[in-house]
Amino acid sequence: MSIEPITGRYLTVTIGGTPHRIYFEEAGQSRPVLCLHTAGADTRQWRHLMNDASVTATHRLIAFDMPWHGKSLPPEGFETEEYLLTTEAYIETVLAVIDGLALDRPILAGCSMGGRIALQLAALHADRFSGFIAIEASDFQPAWYDIDWFHRPDAHGGEMGAALVSANISPFAPLVERWNTLWMFMQSGPGVFRGDLSFYTRDDSLIGRLAMIDTTKTPVHLIVGAYDLTCTPEDAARTARAIPGATLSVMDELGHFPMSEHPQGFRPFFLDGLAKMARGTDQAGQAA
C-alpha cells in the first residue's frame, strides 16, 4: 500500500463574470511552479513529477484542471453553450488561479496548448511570473486534421481523439504510460478536445507577440520531443529563434506528452528547465 503526497482541493473563481469551480492538486514546497495540462486532458498528466521527491523538495508543484476538464465542472448553463477556448479566457483563467491561490510569481510550466498560453503570458503578463517552461510549444500550429471530427453525435469523440493523438506518442514510451495518457483523452467530455483545438489551431496571435518577450526579466525555456508530429522540433526551434534569449532542448526519444507518456525520460529535461529559471532581474542576461 502507498499513499501519494499529492493533495487535491477545489477553488472557486470568477472567469468571464461567471463562477467556476476549479480542481487543483499540489505537492512540494518552496518555489511555486504552476503546471498546465494539454488539450483534451487534465492534471493527471503531471502526477509523476508531483510524486518526484527530488523535484518537490525545492519546488511546490501546482496543477489545475481547466474548466470543462477533469474534475473542474463546466460553468452553469454549459448545456446550451458551445465550448470554444480563447486566448483571452485562457489567460484570465490562469491569472484567476494565481490570484485565488495567492501564488507569488510562480514559474509557469505548460505543455502543448499550455505551452502556447505560457508564451502568451510571457509576452503579456510577464510580471506575474518568474519564468516559463514551454513544453511542446510553438507560435502557431494550423490543424492537419478536421477538429469537427472530435465532436459528433455518431461517434465517440474521446476514442477518436485518443487514436489521433497516439500519433504524437514516442515508441520509447512505456506501454502503461502510453495508455494512461490516452485514457485521459478517452475520458474527455463531449466537444472539449474540439474546443481546445479551436484555440490551438486557429488563434495565431502569438506570432506577433513573441518579440515582446523579455527573457532578461523572465527566462523562457522550450522543450520539444522528436516524436511530436503536432509541434515538431522545427516548430519549436522557429519559435525559440523569435524570442531573444530563449533556450531550447530537444528530446530525441519523447513525444507530445513527455511528462505523462515517459516520466523517466522527461525528468532530466524538466530538472534542467527548472535550473534555467533564474530568479528575477538579478539573473538578467543569463537566460541565453
Partner: protein
C-alpha cells in the same frame, strides 16, 4: 510485402481485443505501395481477404498510399520520428490517405493497431 499483410490477417484472427474494437468495421481498404495494390477486405473486425491488384473493379472506402521503404521503416520495432504512425508518414510526405477519411478516423485505433501488427509479423519473418 503481400506476406506481411497475410501475416497481419493471421495475427488479427488471434487478437480478440482488436476484433472487438473493429466489430463495426466491414470495409475494403486499399494499400498501395510503390504503385502496387493490395486490397484488405474487413468483415466485422477480421480481414476476410487479402487480394493483390491491380483492380479497377474493387471499390474501397479509403486508401493508404506509400512506398516500400517508408512502410519498412514504419514496421521497425522502434520506428524513427515520422515513421512511427501513418499520420506521421503523411506529415513527412511519405504517404497519402485518400477516400472516406472520416470512416478511417471513426475506426482509427483499430486500423492503426491492425497495421502495426506488421511489426511483429516482420520480426517473425526476419
Amino acid at each position: 510485402m503481400i506476406d506481411i499483410f497475410r501475416g497481419i490477417q493471421r495475427d488479427l484472427d488471434g487478437a480478440a481485443h482488436l476484433q472487438r474494437l473493429g466489430r463495426l468495421f466491414s470495409e475494403t481498404v486499399l494499400i498501395e505501395v510503390d504503385g502496387r495494390e493490395v486490397y484488405l477486405t474487413f468483415d466485422k473486425g477480421r480481414i476476410e481477404a487479402v487480394v493483390e491488384g491491380p483492380s479497377r473493379k474493387t471499390p474501397w472506402r479509403f486508401a493508404l498510399r506509400t512506398d516500400a521503404e517508408a512502410l519498412g521503416k514504419f514496421w521497425e520495432p522502434i520506428p524513427a520520428p515520422g515513421f512511427h504512425d501513418i499520420f506521421g508518414l503523411v506529415k513527412i510526405g511519405r504517404a497519402r490517405i485518400d477516400g472516406d477519411i472520416l470512416t478511417l478516423v471513426k475506426n482509427l485505433r483499430f486500423f492503426k493497431d491492425v497495421l502495426a501488427l506488421g511489426r511483429q509479423t516482420k520480426e517473425v519473418a526476419a
